[in-house]
């Protein structure tokens, strides 16, 4: 549909630290039934960026190399994460290893407060973001919807902030809508990406309708009965939400209002006779 093409593709690409992306959907690579299905999903999602991580290699292992070949074959940009890190120190070292392995200054910065809740540790996050930015990294911080934390991340040099919709993997959708709205209002020029908690295409569309610049998700696609079709669903949802935002949504109303005009209704001035 060339209206969408115009609107989304030419008129305003997503900017990630100076790189223009055609797609506003970032996809995680974890938890797919098979590498082939992962590849299909990335294609169907029309994703421009995929997230990856680092894990310990067993002696003599070649798993990592094989995975890297798969990813490189997809023709997308790679965003390594620091998943599982519990301190700024761990996250910084992981980021440095990732930069060497993947040859990119991009890092999805995760510092978690504890392994049960996977809640971001906002103190460790800001500390690591500050160190990494000085060291030349381009940081994508995974954070909560806390405005005071977002301010510190921005001061630390983050041009992108990635608040959660809900805790990782809960698939609950936007829990604190007002919080995300005030982040958007407060940081009109920061690239805001909703990360984590998205369980359904409608959740992704809702985030984009709030004026968020992109959506990053993984579980909802990887764990779907048919990941490739679900990836296509989210691709359409992100476009739908973005178009809705650009087209100017009407606000909810308290009173019911007729869509069909009342003036000229047949029988209108006569008494109803049941």
């Amino acid at each position: 549909m060339n209206i969408r093409d115009q609107t989304l593709h030419e008129s305003d690409p997503l900017m990630l630290y100076g790189t223009a992306m055609r797609s506003r959907l970032l996809l995680g690579t974890a938890g797919y039934p098979s590498p082939a299905i992962l590849a299909d999903a990335v294609t169907a999602a029309d994703a421009g960026v995929v997230t990856v991580s680092l894990r310990r290699e067993t002696a003599g292992g070649k798993t990592g190399a094989r995975f890297l070949d798969l990813i490189n074959g997809l023709g997308v940009k790679v965003l390594p994460n620091t998943a599982g890190c519990r301190t700024a120190r761990e996250a910084i070292t992981t980021a440095e290893m990732a930069r060497e392995l993947f040859g990119t200054p991009w890092i999805k910065l995760e510092v978690i407060a504890n392994d049960d809740t996977l809640q971001p540790d906002v103190f460790g996050l800001v500390e690591a973001a500050d160190v990494l930015t000085r060291d030349g990294f381009q940081v994508f911080p995974y954070t909560t919807d806390d405005l005071s934390v977002a301010e510190r991340l921005q001061r630390a040099g983050c041009e992108i902030i990635m608040p959660w919709a809900a805790p990782i993997g809960t698939a609950r959708g936007i829990v604190n809508r007002a919080g995300l709205e005030s982040l958007r209002a407060y940081f009109p020029s920061v690239t805001l990406i909703v990360d984590a908690g998205i369980g359904a295409p409608s959740h992704a569309a809702a985030a984009m309708e709030l004026g968020y610049d992109a959506v990053l998700l993984n579980t909802a696609v990887a764990k779907a009965a048919d990941p490739a079709v679900m990836a296509a669903a989210f691709a359409a949802a992100v476009k739908a939400g973005r178009l809705g935002f650009e087209a100017g949504l009407m606000p909810p109303r308290d009173m019911a209002m007729p869509s069909t005009p009342v003036a000229g209704t047949p029988f209108f001035d006569l008494e109803p006779k049941s």
Partner: protein, 66 residues
């Protein structure tokens, strides 16, 4: 021979540097990155980074991630 903790497991090795350790462990063909005691060791510094007993070595590789 010294005892290291490699990827969380105790390992007795004759390796004197990170470079030797990686070679002995047959990672050469693989795509890996290394850290010692929580600090990154770039590929260019592996050969000159000496190992001491009890050092905690991380040897990591690309994997799926969210």
């Amino acid at each position: 021979m010294i005892d290291l903790i490699v990827n969380g497991r105790v390992l007795a090795t004759a390796a004197k540097t990170v470079g030797e350790l990686v070679a002995m462990q047959d990672y050469v063909g693989g795509k890996i990155a290394t850290a010692v005691n929580g600090h990154f060791v770039p590929v260019g510094r592996r050969a000159t980074t000496l190992l001491n007993p009890g050092d905690q070595v991380e040897i990591v590789t690309p994997r799926q991630g969210g």
